[in-house]
């Protein structure tokens, strides 16, 4: 199985909420001080899905990441986890894209990789939560797609995918090559092993510029956007919590119940 996994470097979504700041002038997030960026957690589920297949059937995994200022120690994580190659689409022209321009650039990068049976993406990324790039890549490359996968088995050259639905899950059979987006239900991504980390240190990523993947600068990044961001803001919280007290926790609990009854909540 030849597999491609789309990954992304993001602001650590686990950073404390208090450290989250937006610069209103630029409509951008101010990277929290002293908090290192991470590989998007949803992308890690996608890597895990590919590694599970590699464990079972063997194969090659190529991770591809688009962005600027990609810290090598961060974006090499898929290699440390067990992926074989890392390609970075790295150029100012790729920056500040939306789902359209990002999916387009990734699709053209994947086209250049050429030989693939499955392309994996996270179901969304933890920064913009757009949830569209996977479907976009599939559409641009003319591939069948299955989103929100929680389990994937390969039999007779087809993938059998358990897809999370609002009611439970459904089992979908899809012909290959295909694009699959992976949900968190796939299970915890593995930790890199020491051996993996050592191997990743020695491996250099391949860098592709727009011309390398045959795209015009006007089609990618900010220039290729179909959507316009008008405003990015932090929702205002109405903080007026009434702390219910008591001599001890048990008494506070009784007072809370009475309070809720009084407020007709109960």
């Amino acid at each position: 199985m030849n597999m491609v996994v789309c990954i992304k470097q993001v602001v650590d979504p686990e950073a404390p909420p208090a450290s989250f700041k937006i610069d209103p002038a630029s409509n951008k997030v101010v990277p929290p001080q002293g908090v290192s960026p991470v590989v998007d957690p949803y992308a890690e589920y996608a890597i895990e899905a590919a590694l599970k297949i590699k464990d079972a059937l063997g194969g090659k995994i190529t991770a591809i990441s688009l962005g600027i200022n990609q810290l090598r120690d961060i974006v090499k994580k898929p290699l440390a986890m067990g992926a074989d190659e890392l390609i970075l689409l790295e150029d100012e022209a790729f920056d500040e894209g939306d789902s359209w321009s990002t999916a387009y650039a990734l699709a053209m990068g994947i086209k250049k990789i050429g030989d693939y049976d499955i392309i994996f993406c996270g179901r969304e990324a933890s920064d913009w939560n757009a949830g569209q790039v996977g479907s976009g890549i599939a559409e641009i490359l003319g591939l069948p797609g299955v989103t929100l996968a929680r389990k994937i088995d390969i039999t007779n050259g087809k993938a059998r995918v358990e897809r999370v639905t609002d009611e439970g899950y459904e089992v979908i059979e899809v012909s290959l090559p295909a694009l699959i987006t992976v949900s968190n239900e796939i299970g915890e991504p593995r930790y890199p092993t020491i051996k993996g980390i050592m191997a990743a240190k020695k491996k250099e990523p391949v860098i592709w510029k727009p011309a390398d993947i045959g795209v015009e600068v006007s089609q990618i990044g900010a220039a290729g956007r179909r959507t316009k961001l008008l405003k990015l803001f932090q929702p205002v919280r109405e903080a007026k919590c009434e702390i219910v007290e008591g001599e001890n926790p048990e008494e506070a609990a009784v007072n809370l119940a009475l309070k809720l009854r009084e407020a007709k909540v109960l």
Partner: protein, 332 residues
């Protein structure tokens, strides 16, 4: 772009009826269409669903397009995208709204790319910009830490809306509208997937999304046994138990109990948050609850910024006494 006109809602069908999200979307679509002074159309896609067209009209649509084909019995990306592509190209709406459901999340982006336009997923709010008349699409970003307002510069402007963002209109059987059937024109060989099985999640008691009372636990509950206490309280209040992500990851509760940006969205009358810190990603699934009550031993926890009432204390001591008192109050 001048020839594009009207607002269109994609109406999901569940168990032979209009899904609740469909009725909500018709209410939302009606509001947007009225603001634009344009028509609201509903699209129904499925097999044996023709009778629901009148229902969509009763909930606010001016026109109902029905694409009925045995190949559309189950949702599949290829067949539904193709059917919707056909309807959109025929009707040419300015705006198309879908639900942020497992179907809408799959259909909307793929359809947008097919139609060479863009979508916004999981919108909290949609409004018409008074000047440009474009659709203002407000959605959570950065795991609920932020909200972003987008516009799309091509037609149709496509958005999915989260469940329960708006209440449906009153059903009005006297409403009149036009029903139009559209031939799906599907090529079976172009459907590259097959639905082998549908496995519904087992639920005991009230469905989390429908519950009027939700007792939610976080990492601080510490074990599956701990959640038993929450279940007991939920039973007493005829409510349901939810959780943040760690208890689900640790399998103390089923994955389906997760509330938040990556889980379910709930809007109960009473939300009791026990031993959970109130991360943005969790709150984006429950912040529309009418009354939030927090029990947490950390006075600095974010949940106290969201709650109406709170106790700073160890839930293991608070909860049994709270449950006891409630039992007494309910018996009165």
């Amino acid at each position: 772009m001048a020839e594009y006109k009207g607002v269109m809602t994609f109406c999901e069908v569940a168990e032979g009826k209009l899904a609740s999200i469909a009725t909500e979307l018709l209410g939302y679509g009606r509001k947007l269409a009225d603001e634009l002074g344009q028509e609201l159309s509903a699209v129904l896609v499925g097999s044996g669903i023709g009778s629901l067209a009148q229902e969509a009209i009763a909930f606010g649509a001016d026109k109902a397009y029905v694409v009925d084909d045995t190949l559309l019995k189950d949702y599949q990306t290829d067949s539904y995208v193709s059917a919707m592509e056909k309807v959109v190209k025929e009707v040419m709406p300015q705006i198309l709204i879908l639900g942020q459901t497992s179907i809408g999340r799959d259909l909307a982006p793929r359809l947008a790319f097919r139609l060479n336009t863009a979508a916004s997923l999981g919108c909290l709010e949609l409004a018409i910009d008074p000047e440009s008349k474009l659709l203002l699409q407000t959605k959570p970003a950065y795991g609920g830490n932020a909200q972003a307002v987008f516009i799309c510069q091509s037609y149709p402007q496509i958005a999915t809306v989260r469940p329960k963002a708006i209440a449906p209109l009153e059903r009005d059987e006297s409403r009149k509208g036009e029903v139009i059937t559209v031939d799906a024109g599907l090529d079976p060989s172009a459907i590259r997937t097959k639905v082998l099985e549908k496995v519904p999640e087992k639920i005991e008691g009230v469905r989390l999304e429908d519950a009027e009372v939700v007792i939610a636990g976080g990492r601080g509950i510490g074990s599956a046994e701990g959640f038993k206490q929450l279940e007991e309280l939920a039973r007493m209040l005829k409510g349901a138990v939810g959780a943040t992500r760690p208890p689900c990851d640790n399998e103390w509760v089923p994955a389906g109990a997760q509330i938040g940006l990556t889980g379910k969205i709930v809007t109960p009358d009473l939300y009791i948050a026990v031993a959970l810190s109130g991360s943005s990603q969790h709150m984006s699934g429950c912040s529309s609850s009418k009354t939030i009550v927090a029990i947490n031993k950390d006075a600095e926890a974010n949940i106290f910024r969201e709650a109406r009432f709170g106790i700073v204390g160890d839930w293991k001591k608070v909860l049994p006494a709270f449950a006891d008192k409630i039992k007494g109050l309910l018996a009165e």
